[in-house]
Assembly symmetry: C2
Homo-oligomer: 351 residues x 2
DNA sequence: CTGAAAGCGCTTACAG
DNA sequence: CTGAAAGCGCTTACAG
């Protein structure tokens, strides 16, 4: 333990009388030294409390054994979103399988750029559009593999997506088919999708386009709806409650609320419940994601099922292939979605 | 870009005509070189696409700028537990504030030991009892700061806990006060708390002790209850549903289910709902944690509120103090809890 | 203001 | 089977 300093490979070499090479082999390639040497070295290492420094090892080997996950927003808003939690679970289980750790990278000092420059990882998975070309540049010059989930496939990297436009279309079509005409649309926070890339290709934009298509197919105009585009939200329960209260302040009230996130929908429902508004009798609410809460909330949510876990897992598997040396180019991975009809959507009262 | 290889500080030095020292200063201590030198160096760096290698930098500086979080179980079971998600959110937001990343460390190859040996982090936060003395030894010889959440405070490290025994006592007392006599107790999975340390000090043990106290205060014996200790669960929704179905197979049915986790309680309720069993009329259910779902599930859960976010945040703050050089010894941090009465607990039918 | 040089703790051809 | 030595890409006293 030589004076409160961690012993190094050198100490073990001196103490055991073997070379540093031998010590290294004792830990990493035991077959290359004699059994006797190995036992002696390991014995000394144990006695001195020696553990190879992972930092030095990683540096020498040029790998970290860790995959990075770029949080699209600050930690509280990111981890407060169950959808992101599920994506994380998918990524994490693949990392575990490969013996890697998973490094969550918050927008350090508010600068995604700095975070990406400094990230000590072997590859990166990004969620949402926040990955602008400036960041892609850094990734490229760092020669670091990366894949994007819910990003714009055009950006020249492998990507995992659902057909957001089609999904949103089906969702809104179901709402219009039920007879709703006065609808509040709750979009996603721009902050998670803002910079870089073609903005009209962002997930919220594509979903709005899907909504528009549903309207126009029925000879309706989405812009006639008072509430459209007015409400924007972070995907957490408290934010959903806030939005719900704002909607409650509208006069007259809309008859349906269409959100882009289950947890936001659930937050809205909670706010409506406070005011004695019955869902779906007085107000219909639909979500997006189909996370587990959508099933057990009351009434159960009509929503779009998108397999968040699989999204994360597919992205991670692709990333590991790239870490292994494969070139995936801008491979597009598309995962199926489906509309799930439950009780939170009904026909409006005065129809 | 010299032939597909990342440029290093050496390339920039040669190309710009300055020394490696100067290049390093240009990035880290600009004030120590002339403006002219700095501009030239930065210009060359930009042109060649140079970004300092974080690995080399970390190695040289002896820090990673990352905090490790030891997952108590495999990723799916860990991240599928909303309580752990909340703890993570608390830890993460403190990391973000300090400009650190958060490394999730799964039990690699099933071996927590290996995971801890190899973790490239500046400090570690562990959740639950899985941190045995073998691991503490490694942490000590690696001279790595660590703090434990829901662990045994006795282990000689800083710890964050609630008074689990008292909390469990209050919870069970409320159930018994409502008149229940036939109770199914759903304990936590042993796997998350098994090895190392004094087993009777583990969180599930302390909660069982609290339950026992509540029984004995009413001249009842917890062991007379058929179901006691019989059901054990991972804290995820699907596991809760499984447990609920197993309970449904009992004959006669108990009148109340006491769990140690909201999401398990909610899973049980879902299984009961399948069978047409009404909660709380036919069956009472109580949870533990008071995560957000406990509020919006129907009926809302009677549960123990424990501030998971604050637990994570406090642990992280303590860890950063240790990383900063402070010695915290085995400082015990205790966070208040409280019983939250909602609709899922009622008086049993035939009483 | 600037640079030569040692050092961080490992790994790994290479030669014996 | 074993070891001397170079190398990974940075940082940082130290001397000028």
């Amino acid at each position: 333990m030589t004076e409160g300093k961690r012993p190094t490979i050198k100490d073990i070499a001196q103490e055991s009388g073997y070379s540093k090479t031998a010590v290294s082999f004792a830990f990493n390639e035991p077959s290359r030294i004699s059994v006797k040497a190995r036992n002696q070295i390991l014995g000394v290492a144990d006695r001195l409390g020696y553990i190879p420094d992972p930092m030095a090892r990683n540096f020498s080997l040029h790998k970290h054994m860790s995959v990075g996950f770029l949080l699209p927003q600050d930690v509280v808003h990111s981890l407060g979103n169950p959808y992101i939690g599920d994506v994380l679970e998918g990524i994490g289980s693949v990392c575990q399988k490969h013996g890697y750790t998973l490094t969550l990278i918050p927008p350090l000092e508010g600068s995604m750029i700095q975070a990406v420059r400094n990230a000590a990882v072997d590859g990166l998975i990004a969620l949402g559009m926040k990955v602008g070309m400036d960041i892609v540049d850094i990734l490229n010059t760092r020669k670091m593999p990366y894949v994007t989930i819910d990003g714009t496939p055009s950006a020249g990297m492998p990507s995992v997506n659902i057909r957001d436009m089609d999904a949103a279309y089906q969702l809104m079509d179901a709402v219009l088919a039920a007879g709703h005409k006065d609808i509040a649309i709750v979009s996603l926070s721009a902050s998670a999708f803002s910079d870089g890339g073609a903005k009209e290709d962002s997930v919220p934009s594509k979903r709005i386009q899907g909504f528009e298509k549903a309207f126009s197919e029925r000879w309706m105009d989405i812009n006639d709806s008072r509430h459209v585009h007015q409400f924007v939200s972070e995907c957490t329960f408290p934010d959903g409650v806030d939005i719900g209260r704002k909607i409650m302040a509208e006069d007259p009230l809309p008859t349906a609320v269409v959100t882009m996130s289950d947890i936001v929908a659930i937050g809205c429902m909670s706010a409506f419940h406070e005011k004695g508004i019955n869902v779906p009798k007085d107000m219909s609410v639909v979500g997006f994601d189909n996370d587990i809460a959508a099933k057990f909330v009351h009434p159960a949510l009509t929503t779009i099922d998108q397999p968040a876990l699989e999204k994360g897992a597919m992205a991670a598997e692709a990333l590991f292939r790239m870490i292994g040396g494969e070139h995936l180019g801008n491979m597009r991975m598309e995962i199926p979605f489906r509309l799930v009809k439950r009780e939170s959507l009904a026909t409006p009262r005065n129809t």
